[in-house]
Amino acid sequence: MRDDFMSGGYKQQPGAARGTTRKDGKRVAGKQKFPPPGSGGSNPNMAPRDLDWIPESVGGKEPQPAGSHIHDRYRTGTSVGKPRALVDSHAKVTGQAWYGDDVRLQNEIIGKILRSPHHYAKIKSIDTSKVEALPGVLAVATGQDAPNTFGVLPVTKDEHAMAVEKVRHVGDLVACVAAVDEATAMEALNLFEIEWEVLEPVFDPKKGLEDQDEPIHWRGKYHVGKTNVQKRVFQEFGDRSLVEEPSASSHGKWRMEGVHHGFTEPHAVVAHWDPNGRLQLYTPQQVPHYAHRALSTVLEVPMHQINVIRTFVGGGFGGKSDPFPHEMCAAILARKAGRPVRINFSREEVYWINRGRHPSHIEVKMTADEDARISGFDIDALIDGGGFASFGHVTSYYNGVLATAPYELGSFHYTGARVWTNKPASGAMRGHGAVNTRCAVEVGLDEMSEQLEVDPIDLRLANLLPPHSRTISGFRITSNGMREALERVREGSNWDQKFRQMPLGKGIGIGCGFFISGSGLPIHWDPNRFPHATVHMQIDMDGGVTVHTGAADIGQGSTTAVAQVVSEVLALPIEMIHVRSHESDTSPVDLGSYSSRVTFMNANAAIRAALDIREKLLNAAWEMIGYHPDVLVLNDRRIYYKHDPAVGVSYLEALHKAQEDKGSLIASGAYRSPPMGGVHKGAAAGLAPAYSFSAYVAEVDVDVETGLISCTDVWAAHDCGKALNPLAVEGQIIGSCHMGLGQVLSEKMVYGRTGHLQNPNLLEYKIPSVHEMPNVTPIIVESSDPEGPFGAKEAGEGPLLPILPAVVNAVYDAIGVRIRELPLTPDVVWKAISAKTKSMDGIDPTDLPAPRLNHGPLQATLVERGNEHRERDKKRQRSEDTSAYVNGVLFGFDPERPMEDQVEGWKTAVEPVPEQLAELGLAGKAWLKKEQRHMGGEQ
């Protein structure tokens, strides 16, 4: 023992520390006479192991139908899988949670932004003299104060803090002012004198495909002709010969209006250059790290002089996931004025910054062969980007690439294009580009089912990619709960008794979803071996675990998820885990809350850090009680010998032992996605370390005389791998239904004929109230992802995708009219009903025939194949079958050899050949022009 070494023989603690013999003659092992400093509090006795929450594979009672997981041996039954309140809920229900506008610093002044009244105009001059002369104005700034560009994606930095040369949409930032109070700042906005040269605006993305007099942005040598095309994508894989002579086909042209995230908290920001000259920026941000980088670029200040403080976030959903110009403005004004500046948005301003879902023109063609296999998908997506790129480069990919699963395809082709227009910028919104295309695809499958005379659920069940497979685009699928999701909603909704059997006006429909659980490749390439998430952990002598993470909790519960996994690994109640995640100064980098990555990546990093601490605690216990860590158990604040729970030490004792000579225990854990995917251009888009799968059944009532739709019930199954907190997962499922339902039934950003946004407020932009919500039965499917933290995958965005097609398909089941336009407002539905009744010799809408289904011969084929595949998938899920599987096996191809070697004419292309151009759709027109560098233009 080393007890004499440090203290030079002086024993600080009275009494013998070891080996006392008690009255009854038994020896007591290693108990100190006095409780260690830091003890006290309630629950003085260790609870027995909660076997219900410990997996079967490690001796517990928790069933594991999806098989075991590498993290099973770290399950202690403390937290994972148990529904619980979010750890920051106390602050929220007492009104103490501090959002952007709640940060009130001493000496603050109020900032306001001057916004463009024009859709598209050059700024000839700005005269700020009258503004500066107004008493009470303390700082003024214009675009000249910040010439460096920024943007959320490093490949498309096309934004300025304030417009430098021209404004690109009504509401675009022109200048800003800070004054002693709001009234003065508002008055000051009226005093700017600006000379404009108004330009001809473009509102229609189709127009944007043509050459312009003045393209909205200029991409230099990459600019496509002289158009407003910001990004174009082409991908083609597979065997086109399979598409010839289909047994069924569907061709649909869709128009989806732009929608907005609709969070209740308007943007706000507080900037303060502290007494040490560093910028403290308080902002409700989903991506504080990206804001940090952008601020450094725009303000020309090194990142280490900036502390980004993420406040509580009153809803993000992709609408607070860009570095924002107003954040730059606040910082610039605060630097000039020498006082903290607070800018808060009116609700209208929330629409000017936008970043909502792109208005889209989507065309989907698909075919099925004589065995009801899906022989081909052809997708064309033209999306309206508005005035800036934002996340649009990525959206352009997601509109296509995320349709390569969950079904096995004979061939796949996608052409996409994003076009700038003079409207508030579109960006990332929950589910991103995958949402609109998924709706179109799922409705196409419904149409093909009708032609094939089969049940649409059986069509899907017989065409699913199995667990542990690769898509036609090279994505690695690991855990896959699609089958179970489909089967459970079929049963829960009583599908077989209802589909195509209900009276006119009542309908039921199915829709599926497939989404990434974190983008596999980070958007910043440099430094490109950086982890995607890092978590630090620190425990001092009081026993409290402080976890530092950059994970931005936006209401989804990331703080809780991180606390839960740490609590689980260390077998400590969650009250002993304190997560600090607000400040970049003390939080290691996390890339941000987007692409549904936070639980997956931060919980994984947290587990790694916790395992490091666990090892230190076990080693300390080994020294104290003489048993090797392999036979020690962590349970409820104690570590004990697994065959005798009485032989052990408390967490605090082991901690103090581990801290000898070291002080605080510190650990760091990081997570990085494994390298994967193909090497073609754009191969990285859509890559993820895991994917989520969902299937929803929606039941609707449609009034054929008014076009009014009411969604009454939804059975919503979502494969989240493992529900760390089932209460939170269910909340995400129901909340996603709400948001998706809004897009289907009532939400749209309305642009009038003059291009003006007509409804920038929550009265006329209609998000569903409580009365519009159906009864949602959330169904959690757990496929236990091998790479996920305790098997968990995302549940933040994926649950939104299926509700759109489920409702659209249900409407068809109710009235026999297929509508390919969103939202399905009553006037849209009524128009479609009118057209149908007119085509039937003007019958009364109440006499419309409700669709019916008589199973054809292929139904039996599908059921049989579905049953075979169910057995195949069960074995693969439980790793009882580890053979290779790639998209194509269903069509008879060998998974062990490259497709190009097996199939003559197997295509892998990222650019259309000239002969194809005539066949392409709207987005295909973006490929008619050449880039400048290929035209001899801009070198």
Binding site: R104, E575, R637, A646, G731, N761, L762, M773
Partner: protein
């Protein structure tokens, strides 16, 4: 809250003393006669739990109770409620002891991002004070002036139903999910039967 009273440099409505009973305390503030209640509560009285969401009276985030009745503070002039009893979310708890409605919003998933929560809590509290056993339909009607973008409302209704049960005494006040003050040095079960270091 800024600790100084600004004298505005541009012509504005002059400020005068406004007084009311906020969360059980007599409060005085300086506010112009055209000030809305929301701004006075947030900027002058310091009740930052009352939220501004939409500027138009459409989202319900600014809901407070005026003499026990729910009211949109953004559509209410401060002057209209001078002298009245105003309750904000900050007035629901008794010290550290949360009201059942607050606990249930936490334990039943009624609060995700939390921004709309104060408004819902006030509407729910007013409902439960007048209707101790509301049906889910009645709860929906009581909260149909509040928008939520995170929860889809279902767990909010669950939370209010659960709180109603507790208030009526039909269910016990919930114990916290786990002990808030756990002892990091617990005792194990009975005495060990063998000395340390002896493997079985």
């Amino acid at each position: 809250m800024v600790g100084e009273a600004h004298v505005s440099m541009i012509p504005t409505t002059p400020k005068k003393v406004w007084s009311a009973n906020v969360n059980g305390h007599a409060v005085q503030a300086l506010a112009p006669s055209n000030a809305i209640l929301l701004d006075v509560l947030r900027d002058e009285v310091g009740m930052l739990g009352v939220k501004r969401g939409c500027d138009l009276g459409t989202c319900g985030c600014c809901t407070v109770l005026v003499n026990g009745e729910p009211r949109l503070s953004c559509l209410c002039l401060a002057g209209q409620v001078e002298g009245d009893d105003i309750t904000t979310v900050e007035g629901l708890a008794e010290g550290a002891h949360l009201a059942p409605i607050q606990t249930c919003f936490a334990t039943h998933g009624g609060s995700q991002c939390g921004f709309c929560t104060p408004g819902f809590l006030m509407a729910a509290e007013a409902l439960l004070d007048s209707n101790p056993k509301p049906s889910r339909e009645e709860i929906s009607c009581a909260i149909d002036g509040n928008l939520c973008r995170c929860t889809g409302y279902q767990q909010i209704i669950d939370s209010i139903e659960a709180a109603a049960e507790i208030k009526r005494g039909d269910a016990p006040a919930p114990a916290p999910a786990s002990d808030p003050h756990p002892n990091p040095h617990p005792e194990g079960p009975e005495e060990p039967s063998m000395p340390p270091g002896h493997a079985r």
